[in-house]
Symmetry: C2
Subunit: 337 residues, 2 copies
């Protein structure tokens, strides 16, 4: 249980400030005995009384030094804070960390190994409780050497031989769900535009597509599976083949592919969903809800990936590290199916 | 000058590890005298020798306690880590902080005042050197009370009466640049789809549009300025009026508006840029480069906003706080003009 910080039952500097009727900065000056701060005798006394009455532990850093461990959790990522995609991992990790009285130290390395080494060294110097190592997309990584000697949870990435706890999206369940939506709308000839990039998303979403077809007694037809670069240009370029294959619905590897396919279908004066239904994947912000028509898709559960990783790091949720912890991808239904 | 940390000339734990031929974690165990860590006598000796030889300061936290100030800079934001837009502010601030031997503590509050108070209290408890207070878009804010008592720089937001240093994009220069590109391509009847949201972007980009017209001896025609919601739906809805106004070029308030306008023009079988040229604003990732045709636009300088704010906070760059520090918006030319 948290002994200090922002958790439900723990006393914060804010609580002390409220009880004493002063600002948080005043409390900080008093409890840290800051030289040079001009605090009135009365305010100082009220703060000291509130500290005692509430049982506030005044100095996070002094506590860290005496115990050899801190209330910090490190988050090292290649680009989740800076690409317009997986930032909700930070949000989920931060909310969950605060709930347990921990503070998140975020370092975004841009995938640069030297910056990564520096970030991890910084976190070790600040005696973090552990580190979340995260990527902006689900793929295999090499675990930096320094991380092998501290508690680490991998988030939206994996390293099979590492033995580290791993939290990733359930790509197969997501692919199955997307395909099931199209089947439920009456489609029988469903194309799948998969990515050309080898990845768990490539194999998992394909497996989910096949599982859904099988469960509905629909044959798997390899001629309905296309490979495309996982962006607008790939979806646009695949349009001709999709139409030749006489598909009435398309499951797209991601929303960017769907956006390109929209352009291709429009050029051929085909209407969505009347002439052809389109399902995306990712629920990508700024795109999915704003296409014409708004895109039905499956969301990547970024927030929950971050939150679950913190729970596993802190041991408030247990999971066998031999298997990845899979987070389900929920449906987001709009008007393209 | 930095005495400890990741700056060019400062000695890091990584340097010690390299010199001693051990892992960073081993160095951490030795210099922090961690109980329970099993370190061989020889490794311990090599680390201690390297610490002395390189002049490494072993404990950031102990140093903080003795000096009453830390190597942390706080970054409190409403949503820059979690919206797909302004994350590069973090990247710029972090790179610049590291360059000066500081570490960035990032807290994304989702705009929730209680979370914001908690984040600021946490930062004060950790004795941050100062705080960057940032928003995901340029607008007026109310400075939280606690921040008034620590060094603070406002980033991509402002509070006129606060007297705080403020770093914001140069909206007027950006609007002028966008309009100049259209004039340079030979256009004389240039529409402007501005946002319905009152903001510095609304007034600044309009002022820039007018300045560019004036400099080219083109009359300002209020009938060519339209207001629309600053997203795809707004741009799409404005298409009819743009065509009725017989504009040959359109400067859009942002790239999302341009994306909606693209859809509207396509429905009317108008080609970009042959029938009508389109200029965006923001250079929004995932969108601008991937429209058909790729969108010419003006970039919001998010990275530089974060970097400049750190320089001002640390005093390595001086600027009169009475005026905002304006960062120029550079052009990104593609194929829509």
């Amino acid at each position: 249980m948290p002994e200090h910080g922002r958790a439900g039952s723990a006393v914060t500097m804010r609580d002390v400030a409220k009880a004493a009727g002063v600002s948080v900065a005043t409390v900080s000056h008093v409890v840290n005995d800051k030289p040079g701060a001009r605090i009135g005798t009365d305010a100082r006394r009220r703060v000291q009384e509130a500290v005692v009455a509430l049982g506030y532990r005044p100095n996070a850093l002094a506590k860290t030094l005496s115990q050899g461990t801190s209330r910090f959790i490190g988050l090292v990522s290649d680009a989740i804070a800076t690409t317009p995609f997986a930032g909700q991992i930070i949000h989920g990790a931060q909310d969950e960390a605060w709930r347990h009285g921990y503070v998140l130290l975020v370092a975004d390395t841009g995938g640069n190994p030297a910056a990564e080494d520096d970030a991890i060294a910084m976190m070790l110097e600040h005696q973090v409780h552990g580190v979340l190592y995260s990527s902006w997309y689900h793929h295999e990584i090499t675990v930096p050497q320094a991380l092998k000697e501290t508690d680490t949870v991998l988030v939206d990435c994996y390293a099979p031989a590492s033995g580290l706890a791993t939290v990733v999206p359930d790509e197969e369940q997501g692919g199955r769900l997307a395909t099931e939506e199209l089947i439920a709308a009456g489609h029988r000839r469903i194309a799948f535009i998969n990515t050309t990039t080898p990845s768990p998303a490539q194999t998992g979403r394909l497996a989910g597509y096949r599982t859904a077809l099988e469960a509905a007694d629909l044959p798997f037809d390899p001629a309905l599976v296309f490979l495309a670069a996982p962006e607008q240009e790939g979806g646009y370029a695949a349009t001709g083949e999709i139409i030749e294959a006489q598909a009435t619905a398309v499951f797209c590897h991601n929303d960017r592919v769907a956006m390109g396919l929209y352009d291709g279908l429009r050029e051929r004066e085909l209407r969505i969903p009347d002439d052809i239904a389109v399902m995306g994947f990712d629920n990508q912000d700024v795109i999915a809800a704003h296409l014409r028509p708004p895109l039905s898709t499956v969301a990547l559960p970024h927030y929950e990936l971050g939150a679950a990783a913190v729970r596993i790091l802190l041991g408030s949720e247990t999971h066998d590290a031999a298997r990845p912890y899979l987070v389900a991808c929920p449906p987001v239904l709009r008007q393209s199916v």
